[in-house]
C-alpha cells in the first residue's frame, strides 16, 4: 500500500502485465526512452527491451493496424495513442477491424488489443489535446470502453483491460494523472470487481449523479459542496461506458428519483444521452424529473483560455441537480 499518482499506478499496472504474460507488448510514439509524454511507460523499455516496448513510426493507423496483426499472431498489444485528438487517423482500423474481427472470424480470432487513450481537457493544452471521443467508441459494437477515475482503479483496470480477450479502449483522464491516492499492488486482478461494472462512490438520497473518469472528482466535490445546501447526493463512478452498468444506476435512481449525468464530451449524442434514454425506460415510474445532462457544448473544444467555461464544474453539476429537484 503506497500513495502514488495515477500515472505511476498505470506504469505499475503495465509493468505487472508485462511480467505476467510475455505475449504482452507495448507500442506507441515516444513510449520508449522518453517513457511517453506523460511518463506512463517510464522505464519499461529499459527493463523489458525494445522488442516488447516498441517506439513506433509516427502513424496511428499503422500502430493500430500492426496491433491487429500482432494480435492475430497471438500477442496482446497495448497501444498508446499520444493524445485523444490523434486517435482519428486510426479510426478505420479500430472500427472496421479491431471491433469486428472476432465476430467476422466466428470467434476464432480474438482481438485482445488494449488502446490506451489519454483523454479529456483541463490541462491548458493546444488544440486536439483535450478531446473526449468516448461516444464514438461506445457506439461501436465489438469494443469495450472504460475509464478509471483514481490511481487504484487505474492500476487494476489497465491490467484487467490487457487480460480481457476483447478489445478495450481505456480512457485515461490526463488531468488526473497527477492525482494521488493509495494503491494496493497486492490486489488480485482476477478477483477484483469487473472493470465493466459501476461503483457507488458516495451513497446519498437526494439525487443520483453518474459520471466517469475526470468528472468523478468534480462530482464528488460537488456532492461535498452540496451538503451545505442540504443535498445528499449519490455519486456513481460508471467506470465503464461500454457496456454501461445499467442495474447499478437504475437501482440508485429508483431510490433517489433523479439522475444527472456528467461528462466532458459534448452532450449531443454523448454517453449521457444513452443513459438518459435507457434509465428513463428502466425507471419510468420512479423518475421525478427527466434525466439531466451536464457536459460539453456542441462546439469544438475551445482554446485553453476558455476551457474552464466549457468544462463541467462543481457549479454546473449543482445547477443541474437544482433543476432536477425543481421538477
Amino acid at each position: 500500500m503506497a500513495v502514488t499518482t495515477m500515472a505511476k499506478a498505470l506504469n505499475a499496472g503495465l509493468r505487472k502485465a508485462l511480467e505476467r504474460d510475455e505475449k504482452v507488448l507495448l507500442m506507441g510514439e515516444d513510449i520508449g526512452k522518453l517513457g511517453g509524454v506523460f511518463r506512463v511507460t517510464d522505464g519499461l523499455q529499459k527493463d523489458f527491451g525494445e522488442a516488447r516496448v516498441i517506439d513506433s513510426p509516427l502513424a496511428e493507423s499503422g500502430i493500430m493496424g500492426t496491433a491487429v496483426g500482432l494480435a492475430m499472431a497471438g500477442y496482446r498489444p497495448v497501444v498508446e495513442i499520444q493524445f485523444d485528438g490523434f486517435v482519428y487517423p486510426a479510426f478505420d482500423q479500430i472500427v472496421s477491424q479491431i471491433a469486428k474481427h472476432r465476430a467476422r472470424s466466428g470467434g476464432r480470432t480474438p482481438m485482445p488489443v488494449t488502446i490506451r487513450l489519454p483523454f479529456g481537457g483541463g490541462i491548458g493544452a493546444v488544440e486536439h489535446h483535450s478531446e473526449s471521443p468516448e461516444a464514438y467508441f461506445a457506439h461501436t459494437a465489438g469494443l469495450r470502453v472504460v475509464s478509471p477515475s483514481n490511481p487504484m482503479d487505474a492500476y487494476v483496470m489497465i491490467q484487467q483491460a490487457i487480460a480481457c480477450d476483447d478489445p478495450v479502449v481505456i480512457l485515461e483522464p490526463k488531468r488526473r494523472y497527477w492525482d494521488k491516492a493509495d494503491v494496493d499492488e497486492s490486489v488480485d486482478i482476477a478477483s477484483a470487481p469487473s472493470p465493466f461494472t459501476a461503483r457507488v462512490v458516495r451513497p446519498g438520497t437526494t439525487a443520483t449523479v453518474a459520471c466517469y473518469g475526470p468528472m468523478v472528482r468534480t462530482c464528488l466535490e460537488a456532492a461535498l459542496a452540496g451538503e451545505a445546501d442540504g443535498l445528499d447526493l449519490e455519486v456513481i463512478d460508471l467506470r465503464s461506458v461500454s457496456p454501461l452498468d445499467i442495474p447499478t444506476v437504475a437501482a440508485s435512481v429508483r431510490k433517489t428519483g433523479r439522475l444527472v449525468v456528467v461528462h466532458e464530451a459534448s452532450v449531443f449524442l454523448g454517453v449521457g444521452a444513452e443513459l438518459a434514454a435507457r434509465i428513463t425506460e428502466e425507471c419510468f415510474y420512479s423518475l421525478e424529473a427527466p434525466v439531466l445532462r451536464v457536459g460539453g457544448y456542441h462546439t469544438p473544444y475551445p482554446p485553453s483560455r476558455l476551457e474552464e467555461e466549457y468544462l463541467p464544474d462543481l457549479d454546473r453539476v449543482l445547477d443541474a441537480v437544482d433543476r432536477a429537484l425543481a421538477y
Partner: protein
C-alpha cells in the same frame, strides 16, 4: 507505361509457352510439379467460373472474379511454406486454393452466410479483407510477431494497384522497412481499380514505390506462373533470412468485371481485353507442358474431369448451404459476457418466439 510491362518485367515463360531465362530468377520444377501448377490454374479458374454462374443464378449476392489472375495467385501461393502466413483481399481465390481453403467457404462469404468462413490459423490464410489496404498493416504486424517468435516463417500480403494509394498501405511500407519485417508485399497490378485505370493511382511503375521506402521492388509477369513462383520464393527467402520486405508487382490484367455488379463496357475498350487474351496464364503453361512432353492427353482429360466434378460439388454445396441461425448474429461479438448483447439476444429470441406462437 508500357502495356507489356516493359523491359523490367521478369518472365520465365513467354505467352507463346517458351521457357526463357532471367539473370536473377529461376525455378527448377519436376514435371510433376509443373503439372500440379497447371491443375491448380485450371481448377481455380473453374471455381471462379462456377461462382460467377452461381451469382447469376441468384445463389450468391456477389462474386469478385479473378479471371486472368490465376498465375499471379497460384504462383505466389505455391511459393509459400505451410507455416507462412498469407493476407488476402477479396479476390484471392487462387491463393485460398493453395492454402487448402475449401472453395465452398469462399462461396459462403459471397452468399452472405458469413463475413469470414475459414479458420485462418488452420490454413495460415487470413480472412478476406474488403476495406482496401487494411490487411497490409495486419500482415506487417503479424510479421513483427514472427520476428518475436524467432521462427523463419515469412508473411505475404496481397493488394491491388488501386490499394497503393491508400495511406495504410504506405504506412505498412514504413513499418515493414523500419522494423525490417519478414513480409512480402504482393501487388497484383491488374491495371484497373473498378473503373479507374492505373494512371489514376500512379505515374510511374508501381514496383518502384518500394525504392522510396528503402526496400527492393520487382515487376514480374503476373500471367507467368513460373516467374511469379520464382520471384515470390526469392522474396520470401530474403524475408526469412532477415533482409526485410520486398514489393512484388505482378503485372497482369483483370479479364472479367470488377465484380458481378460491375459493367466494364462503360469504361474500357474491348481491344485491351483481346490483347491480354493472348497472354493467358493457363494457355502458355499448357503449350509448354505439351510441347515438352511433360503432359499428355490423358493428363489434360483427367484435369478436365476433376474440374467438372469440382463444379458439381460447388453447385450442390452452394445451393444446399444453410442460412445461419437468426440469433447467431449475436454470436462472437464479444469473447466475454456482455450485458447489452445478452439482453438484446434474449429480447430477440422472445420476439421471434412470439411469431412462432402466432401472436402477431
Amino acid at each position: 507505361m508500357t502495356a507489356d510491362g516493359g523491359p523490367e518485367l521478369v518472365q520465365l515463360l513467354t505467352p507463346e509457352g517458351e521457357r526463357v531465362h532471367h539473370p536473377d530468377y529461376d525455378v527448377d520444377l519436376t514435371p510433376d510439379e509443373l503439372r500440379g501448377l497447371y491443375r491448380d490454374l485450371v481448377l481455380v479458374r473453374r471455381v471462379d467460373a462456377e461462382a460467377t454462374a452461381l451469382q447469376r443464378q441468384g445463389e450468391l449476392g456477389l462474386w469478385a472474379q479473378l479471371l486472368g489472375q490465376e498465375a499471379a495467385q497460384v504462383g505466389s501461393g505455391r511459393a509459400l511454406r505451410p507455416t507462412d502466413m498469407a493476407f488476402p483481399t477479396y479476390r484471392e481465390h487462387g491463393v485460398a486454393w493453395t492454402r487448402d481453403v475449401d472453395p465452398l467457404q469462399l462461396l459462403g462469404l459471397f452468399r452472405g452466410v458469413t463475413n469470414g468462413g475459414w479458420d485462418p490459423h488452420e490454413h495460415n490464410f487470413a480472412l478476406y479483407t474488403i476495406v482496401i489496404g487494411d490487411q497490409c498493416l495486419h500482415a506487417v504486424g503479424y510479421a513483427m510477431g514472427v520476428q518475436r517468435d524467432g521462427t523463419d516463417d515469412a508473411v505475404i500480403v496481397y493488394f491491388g494497384d488501386g490499394a497503393t494509394s491508400q495511406g495504410d498501405v504506405n504506412e505498412s511500407f514504413v513499418f515493414a522497412s523500419v522494423y525490417n519485417a519478414p513480409v512480402v508485399f504482393f501487388c497484383q497490378n491488374n491495371q484497373w481499380a473498378i473503373s479507374e485505370p492505373l494512371e489514376r493511382q500512379t505515374r510511374i511503375p508501381l514496383y518502384k514505390r518500394a525504392h522510396g521506402f528503402g526496400f527492393p521492388g520487382v515487376r514480374v509477369d503476373g500471367n507467368d506462373v513460373l516467374a511469379v513462383l520464382a520471384v515470390t520464393k526469392a522474396a520470401l527467402q530474403n524475408a526469412r533470412e532477415g533482409n526485410g520486405p520486398t514489393l512484388i508487382e505482378a503485372f497482369t490484367y483483370r479479364m472479367g468485371a470488377h465484380t458481378t455488379s460491375d459493367d466494364p463496357t462503360r469504361y474500357r475498350v474491348a481491344a485491351d481485353l483481346e490483347a491480354w487474351k493472348l497472354k493467358d496464364p493457363i494457355e502458355r503453361l499448357k503449350v509448354y507442358l505439351a510441347r515438352n512432353g511433360h503432359a499428355d492427353h490423358a493428363f489434360f482429360d483427367a484435369v478436365e474431369a476433376e474440374s467438372e466434378a469440382l463444379a458439381v460439388r460447388l453447385r450442390e454445396g452452394c445451393r444446399s448451404m444453410p442460412d445461419p441461425a437468426p440469433d447467431s448474429l449475436f454470436d462472437h461479438v464479444y469473447a466475454e459476457p456482455h450485458p447489452l448483447v445478452d439482453e438484446e439476444r434474449e429480447q430477440f429470441v422472445r420476439y421471434h418466439a412470439s411469431f412462432a406462437g402466432g401472436e402477431h
